[in-house]
């Protein structure tokens, strides 16, 4: 019995539309709230009932990027008029700017560690997946299962051994240490995802390249890699999302030089009281890179998440 796919009725379309819009609102609302809070004054941020309409202010961003100290009104008056617009904002609260905050450094740490570990996970994952897909590896199935099994418990369950190991090895609070750690966590996902993609690339392409006079390695990077681009891109997004957002290990293993933004952002609130706008501003900026990265690769991602299901 054959069946045909019919055009959905208007009611079905309407229902689907409501569902999609509803879900989008549900997931985007917290995001919108955070972005909005970043532009509120501290008073507006904690106002009850919550303010939806407010006068935008850059106070949160100024507080995010600066470290300030409170001075007496007399001292403030002695300083003369504020020289910059951010000075003016700060002085409303009887404060002066001492210098930049650590947010910039922490953000850069996140970039280095996040992208570094993503690159390493995808690079190692690709060559491992290629080997598993194409060569006779002894105990192949067992090895693949072993690799998968590293993800069978939450990584944080091994936090204490890792903490002790890192202390012994001098990897605590280093960029290398965090890159290695996130790579180790992401690698199993990366190997499995990429193996699926590479399995889908017919081996004839490489054989054709071999016959056309190329070596195995040339065949790999000239023929297999371009075709695995989709898989590599979507794997990279998954890996980056994990290492970018990771909080628990970052709290545990970093405190200074290699501290990433996630553990840093909440500490903003501790110093100057209830500085929610600064926290929100930090979170907003922190969202941007991954948002841009995902938007740039979204076509690949859309095909990537249906990996194995669709044949070109």
């Amino acid at each position: 019995m054959s069946y045909s796919i019919t055009e959905p009725s208007n009611r079905q379309k309407w229902f689907a539309g409501v569902l999609v819009v509803g879900y989008a609102l549900l997931t985007l609302l917290p995001l919108a709230w955070i972005i909005a809070t970043g532009f509120k004054t501290p008073a507006d941020a904690i106002a009850y009932p919550p303010k939806v309409v407010f006068t935008p202010s850059l106070e949160g961003y100024v507080n995010l990027f600066t470290s300030r100290s409170r001075v007496t009104p007399e001292d403030l008056a002695a300083l003369g008029p504020p020289t910059t617009w951010y000075d003016a904002i700060v002085r409303q609260y009887d404060m002066v700017i001492n210098g930049p905050s650590r947010y910039g450094e922490r953000f850069m740490n996140s970039v280095i560690i996040g992208f570094g570990s993503t690159f390493l996970s995808v690079f190692l994952g690709t060559i491992a997946a290629y080997a598993f897909s194409r060569f006779k590896v002894p105990l192949k199935d067992d090895l693949l299962f072993f690799i998968l099994s590293t993800r069978m418990m939450p990584p944080i369950a091994v936090a204490i051994p890792i903490f002790l190991m890192y202390r012994q090895l001098g990897l605590s609070d280093t960029h290398l240490g965090m890159i290695l750690l996130y790579t180790a966590v992401n690698l199993s996902l990366s190997v499995w995802l990429l193996k699926g993609f590479i399995d889908e690339i017919p081996i004839e392409y490489e054989e054709a390249a071999l016959i056309d006079g190329y070596t195995r390695f040339q065949a790999f990077y000239k023929v297999v890699l371009p075709q695995a681009a989709t898989g590599i891109a979507s794997t990279a997004i998954f890996c980056l999302i994990f290492s970018w957002n990771e909080y628990a290990f970052a709290v545990l293993l970093t405190s200074g030089t290699a501290q990433t933004a996630p553990p840093f952002i909440p500490t903003i609130i501790g110093s100057g009281g209830k500085d929610w706008p600064a926290v929100a501003a930090g979170a907003t900026l922190f969202l941007l890179p991954i948002m841009i990265f995902t938007i740039l690769l979204r076509k690949h991602l859309l095909r990537g998440i249906t990996f194995g299901a669709v044949r070109k």
């Binding site: 004839e204 392409y205 054989e207 071999l210 016959i211 056309d212 006079g213 371009p226």
Partner: protein
């Protein structure tokens, strides 16, 4: 161009033996067919010639050089895959020029060569198109272009027409054959389609279960099958096989089928016990004077001919008769076989040697 010699080639995949021990010679410039059902080892044999599989034992000589353990890239061969294996991320021109680029040929030479090949294959208009949007036939032409462009010692083709529509296949088969006749390149061609093999091949090797069953010119194989497998695999409908108990001696010229005498080619040597008589459907005639009789079960009309199925004492017989011959289902008719074209097989399936097939079958 090249002569290819296969000697005692064997391939095992773990406990499974894909190719038992093949030996045959492909002469320079020949269009050579490797024919057999799926799983018979024909593709494995081809891949061993190509260097995509390394044989467990045996030798492969291309132009007198033993290459069985050499990598594919060092064998100077071109391979056309069933699914074409055009590089999907490159356009037609890049696909065709790819083998030349690997040799480090200068750009302008590559360009000229690609142009020349594209003209031969009639695909100049496609050169700058991506391969994704091409039709099956055009992909096939591009794949051929990629093979032809480097003037290899030989062409190896793994069911190159298998992925095409039936109507287009015929056309492409002619194009392929014409291309071969123009280039005179040694070509080894794998197919499971016996018609394709008969139509295109200068020579055919028939394989089954990893064993070479027969090796020869299409007509020799068709007329004088070496085994009952070849007899049934080649030809549509297949050769009629009638098993009987009996004895043929040296010089015998007839056998007794269900009590009636049937003329056969003069035997050399002989056998007794369970024997099989084989006769092609076109060599079966209806003749009321004949002693061997059968009842008409069905008649399929095929235009100029018809296939008549007859129920006989030793089994079903299909006869290819002229459509003008009137047959009525249910009628009892006499069957006469062309004496000169009959094959006899021993119980083990091997053909018995007669004066008719001794030229073709050298063994025994």
């Amino acid at each position: 161009m090249a002569q290819i010699v296969i000697k005692n080639l064997r391939k095992e995949f773990g406990a499974f033996t894909a190719v038992q021990s093949s030996s045959f010679t492909i002469e320079d410039g020949e269009f050579f067919m490797l024919l057999g059902p799926s799983g018979c080892g024909k593709t494995t044999t081809l891949r061993m010639i190509a260097g995509l599989e390394l044989p467990t034992a045996g030798e492969v000589y291309i132009n007198g050089t033993e290459v069985s353990q050499k990598p594919a890239s060092k064998r100077d061969i071109a391979f056309v895959f069933q699914m074409f294996a055009l590089y999907p991320h490159m356009n037609v021109r890049k696909n065709i020029s790819y083998p030349l680029v690997s040799q480090g040929m200068p750009r302008d030479q590559v360009r000229a060569k690609v142009q020349e090949v594209a003209e031969i294959l009639g695909i100049t208009a496609l050169l700058d198109k991506p391969v994704g949007g091409l039709s099956g036939g055009d992909r096939q032409r591009v794949a051929l272009g990629r093979a032809v462009v480097r003037d290899p010692a030989c062409f190896l083709m793994d069911e190159p027409l298998g992925a095409l529509d039936a109507e287009f296949r015929e056309h492409m088969a002619q194009e392929l054959r014409a291309l071969h006749d123009r280039m005179h390149a040694t070509t080894v061609y794998v197919t499971h389609d016996q018609l394709e093999a008969m139509q295109m091949g200068d020579k055919i090797v028939v394989m089954n279960h990893g064993v070479v069953e027969q090796f020869g010119r299409p007509q020799e194989i068709y007329d004088w099958p070496a085994t009952t497998f070849v007899a049934t695999f080649i030809g549509s409908p297949a050769m009629n096989l009638l098993p009987f108990e009996g004895m043929v001696g040296n010089g015998a010229t007839s056998v007794t089928l269900a009590g009636s005498e049937v003329q056969i080619p003069k035997m050399i040597g002989g056998d007794e016990g369970g024997l099989v008589l084989g006769v092609r459907p076109e060599h079966v005639h209806l003749d009321d004077a004949a002693g061997y009789r059968g009842r008409v079960m069905a008649a399929e009309y095929l235009g100029t001919t018809q296939i008549v199925t007859l129920d006989t004492p030793l089994g079903q017989v299909k006869a290819r008769l002229s459509s003008s011959k009137l047959v009525t289902v249910g009628d009892s008719v006499g069957l006469r076989f062309d004496a000169r074209s009959i094959s006899l097989f021993a119980a083990n399936g091997h053909a018995l040697i007669s004066t008719a097939n001794q030229r073709v079958l050298h063994h025994g």
